[in-house]
Every structure is written in C-alpha cells, then in structure tokens.
Amino acid sequence: MSGFLDSIRCGDCECNVDWGEKRNTIASVAAGVLFFTGWWIIIDAAVKYPDQDNFNHAYHACGVIATVAFLMINAVSNGQVRGDSYSEGCLGQTGARVWLFIGFMLAFGSLIASMWILFGGFVVPQKAVVYPGIAVFFQNAFIFFGGLVFKFGRTEDLWQ
C-alpha cells in the first residue's frame, strides 16, 4: 500500500502537437459548431413560437438560402478558382468563379435580409415578442460565419 502513488507522473504528457498541422481540423470543427448552432437556434424559436402571428413562417426562407449559399461557397475549392487544380471540373475556371460569386451574393444577401427581418418585421412594428427576429438574425449570422470559417480557415497546401 505504501508508495502506490509513486508511479503517477503529472505533466509528463509530451504535448508537442503541431498546431499548424491541426489548422484544418480546428477550422472544420469550428465551422460545424457555428453552422449547426445557427440551425438549432431557429429550431428553438420555431418550437417556442409555433404560430404565424409571433413568427411568420416565411422568415425561414432566409436561413434556407443561407444554407444553399454555404453549400455553394464550399463546393468549389480555392484551387479551382485560381485555375491551378489538376482537373478543370464541370464548369472550368470561369464557371467556378461565377459559382463562387453567386454563392457569396446569396450569403451576403441572406445576412442583410436577416437584419431587415429583425428590424423591419419585429423592432419597428414593436411586436410583443422579439425573440423570433433575434433568432433569425443569429441563425443567419452563425451560418454566414460558419461558411467563412470553413472556406478560409482551411489551407489547401498539400505539403506544409
């Protein structure tokens, strides 16, 4: 019984993990947390205020477009836009640029629309319950930033 704690070594972990190598992992996880938290916020608002008067169901379109924009932005790699990937893909370099352009326009548009919904639909008419408007805004903000983190937080260098 004596000395049974002798073999425990604290602080012995060789934590020489290379954070540069983990950048893609961290960016993917952070983007996942942001994107899905955005969707769960709107699910929460829809569960709390299911009727049309408190939360007009048309406002869901904003988050859907933001998700489509996320998928469009992340469907093309930076290499395809620059033109230095091995295969041309279905659309070629110009097509990839147009696709990315439309994707970013939809992303910015849905972010602006969510702010418009919050102020035009909830704050200005001084509705009794403002939480659905805040939820729409935060959903779209989280999806937008999740998309940015997933697109630009990862590096495409094959050799580092």
Binding site: N24, T25, G32, F36, D44, R154, L158
Partner: protein, 131 residues
Amino acid sequence: MAGIKALISLSFGGAIGLMFLMLGCALPEYDQYWPLFVLFFYILSPIPYCISRRVVDDTDAASNACKELSLFLTTGIVVSAFGLPIIFARAQVIAWGACALVVTGNVVIFATILGFFLVFGSNDDFSWQQW
C-alpha cells in the same frame, strides 16, 4: 493494437454515459422518455468519419477535403445531440434536471467514442480485415 485495459475502460465509459441518459428518462420525478432520441445521434456520429477513412486512400496528405467534410458533419451531429435536450427543456417537454443528466450522458458518450477512435483508430498498417 492497444490492449484489453483500454477496451474495458471505454466500455465502462459507454455504460456510464448510457446510465446518465437512462436516469434522465426513467427517474420517477421525470418519467419522460423523449430524451432517448439522442441515441439516434450517438449511432450517427462515427459514420461520417468511418466513411471518409474507407473512401480516401492517402493517409499522409496534410489537407484532405473529404476528411474535413466528415469532421464538419460529425461536429454537427454532436451539436445536435446537445441541442435536442436543451430544446426539449425549453419547450417544457422534459424537466431541466433531466436535460442536465442527458447532457452529462452526452459528454461521457462522445468522450468514449472519441477515445475509441484515438486508441483503436490510428493504425499505421491499415488492414481491411479489422472491420
């Protein structure tokens, strides 16, 4: 191949996590079985990573879009497993105490699944017969 001790401690962790989940459902003051839906997320969570490991052959590339997509989806499944009991509690379908027990169970189960992949996942000679 890591030994029997790791396997037993991981299975213990799994049992404790499921115990927390069942406590959150079955205690007499809660008696609501809605939180069992998180079992769906527990089962889904290893699937994207396993698919990406099977599909992609190069294990030494620093960047790998398929692996990152699978990590993104796995994170989403984990977030959803936490979001669901919180939304149940906010909608007063379950009590907040039950929500706390289910969230604790989630933490333990996902730590167990992560531990499983860390201990048994990294093989230098990836042999297909293991599955």
